[in-house]
Amino acid sequence: MTAVIETEGLGKRYRRLWALSECTLSVPAGHVVGLVGPNGAGKSTLLNIAAGLLAPTTGAIQVLGAPPPARPAELAKVGFLAQDAPVYAGLTVAEHLTLGARLNPGWDAEFARGRIDWLGLDPGQKAGQLSGGQRAQLALTLAIGKRPDLLILDEPVASLDPLARREFLEDLMEAIAERELSVVLSSHLMADLERVCDYLIVLVGSRVRVAGPVDELLATHHLLTGPRRDPATLPAGQQVISASHTDRQTTLLVRTSEPVLDPAWAVSEIGLEDMVLAYMRQATGGGRRRVPASQLEVGK
């Protein structure tokens, strides 16, 4: 598995506050990778470092097999949509496309113009008058129009209303469908990413809690419900992510590559959102049962 982003002990400190620390992860090529985590997990810092905007304080990072882009040829390979989709308020939509054309030798003018038409944006309109969703679409058009090998989207839908979120993500899928493009997008809400990503990385407190292809994660996580019992008595291959107990009943989220054979358990599938929430709760210690730190290092 080749990686488009690979970090080793990556850290970023602002004055005395660490926004990201000891982050080691690998973003595989050829996927739409969702980077999920609560606010403050370091997602934005990580992606800004990967885009070449921020200098890390410690650790190492490789983007497309090289340090983060700095020279024009490297910059051309990475498309970046920053949080809140910054655009120039005083420039029109058409002028933003000119900007893209002037600043990117690989600019796909036909795609960009076509996409603006298709989105129904008025080329003569000032970008400052666009709605949040339209602005995000314009910024995305710029990021894809430069024909990058890697597209990084930092919380692309965080500021959009639910309808605009859905539209944006559908359009994103359409725009990248025919392109040989690796995509990383971050969000603090799993629901945003569920529909678009085929690979998931859950980042909490700079640590990867779980990572893997979405279908594999779904296939290996099970919700077990049965009579009350101590999770420590489970077979060795079954890793408990979360556990909750009532007087008579125990509900466990376990990760295992083996089928669950114990007839005492009623086994049901779990949705991605609940799974990710369980990992986040486990990491923040908010679960009903605290898990020793050694058990947190799962996935990868």
Partner: protein, 344 residues
């Protein structure tokens, strides 16, 4: 890259050109009349003692409305570099930080160092062109007043008395180029460091004002060594004389007769041997006609003047411009280096 730089700079350029055009109309509408009055006043062709009278008459004739334009022109030329630093320099990079657009433009396929170089080149060249253009325009307009004010002692245009006069020196010649370059790059540097427009504007103003006060007062007088001359107490003494009790007195002049327009650093009364004197000879206290100067002169008392000759005008202009341009280059180099690195 240049397209974006120019496109972003366009509104400011239009504002500057509009302001420049308005002043050009003001100067253009009043300048020819001023010049024709000067021509008919005969100041240009005067000889000796006639000059003071003719100049004085001319200056009286043009006082009023022209005084306002004269002062307005100086104010515009002097304030232009500060205004440029505040409205062009400080927001140049700070705005991009504030609105987050640096993340957009720095992730296109062009380096941020080139991006900044383009911005500095376009806006910096415009800053210099606008300020120096304004200075030339004003210099053309104010030339008759300057010529006459140098010949008329104690005129109603004190700023015109010497090309070295504090504010006049700053508004003429080539120093506005240096001020504009420095003010602009100072604003850019503040914006790069602070990343917020309003605080960057405040810092720019404070530092620029401090430099613009410190340089004329502390640095400009020391760029070249002053010269010394002794001036006799002639009949057309132009200056202040103070007489205290017990025959104490002091004399200062505001012009050097042999070099109208020279920059007077200091002057004081000296005796025939060249020693400073502060007490009048007894014979000169309470003179018959109330004027003790002829008596002082007859006792060999004269004025020792420390001054900068008019021939130093251009060397000082060049040196000061050079200092400011060097400062501007340092600041620009710093910004280029700072922006070229990834953000800390």
């Amino acid at each position: 890259m240049m397209w974006l730089t120019w496109r972003q700079f366009r509104p400011q350029a239009i504002t500057a050109l509009t302001a420049l055009a308005a002043l050009a109309i003001l100067f253009g509408a009043t300048g020819p009349h001023l010049a024709s009055m000067y021509a008919s006043s005969g100041v240009a062709s005067c000889q000796g003692g006639a000059c003071a009278a003719r100049s004085g008459n001319f200056l009286l004739a043009v006082s009023g409305g022209y005084t306002v334009v004269f002062m307005l022109g100086i104010a515009c030329v002097i304030l232009a570099p500060a205004v440029i630093g505040v409205f062009w320099g400080a927001p140049l990079v700070a705005r991009e930080f504030e609105t987050g657009t640096f993340r957009l433009v720095w992730t296109q396929s062009s380096t941020r160092a080139r991006w900044l170089a383009g911005k500095l080149a376009v806006a910096g060249a415009a800053a210099i062109a606008v300020t120096e253009g304004l200075s030339l325009l004003y210099g053309w307009w104010a030339a008759p007043i300057g010529q006459a004010a140098r010949l008329a002692p104690g005129s109603n245009f004190p700023l015109g008395m010497s090309p070295f006069s504090l504010l006049a020196f700053d508004a003429h010649g080539i120093v506005p180029i240096g001020y504009a370059a420095f003010g602009f790059t100072l604003g850019v540097t503040a914006g790069v460091m602070i990343r917020r427009t309003v605080p960057a504007i405040a810092v720019t103003l404070v530092i620029f004002a401090a430099v613009q006060v410190a340089v004329p007062l502390a640095i400009r007088p020391n760029l070249f060594p002053a010269e010394h001359a002794t001036q006799s107490l002639a009949a057309n003494f132009s200056g202040q004389q103070q007489v205290g009790g017990r025959g104490t007195f002091s004399l200062t002049v505001d012009r050097l007769d042999s070099q109208p327009g020279a920059w007077i650093y200091s002057s004081r009364a000296v005796n025939a041997a060249g020693q400073p004197v502060s007490v009048m000879p007894a014979a000169c206290v309470n003179p018959a006609n109330g004027d003790s100067l002829p008596c002082l002169a007859s006792h060999g008392i004269a004025l020792a003047v420390t001054y900068q000759p008019t021939s130093r005008y251009w060397p000082i202009q060049w040196t000061e411009t050079g200092i400011y341009l060097a400062l501007a280059a340092l600041l620009a180099g710093f910004c280029y280096w700072r922006v070229g690195r990834r953000l800390p």
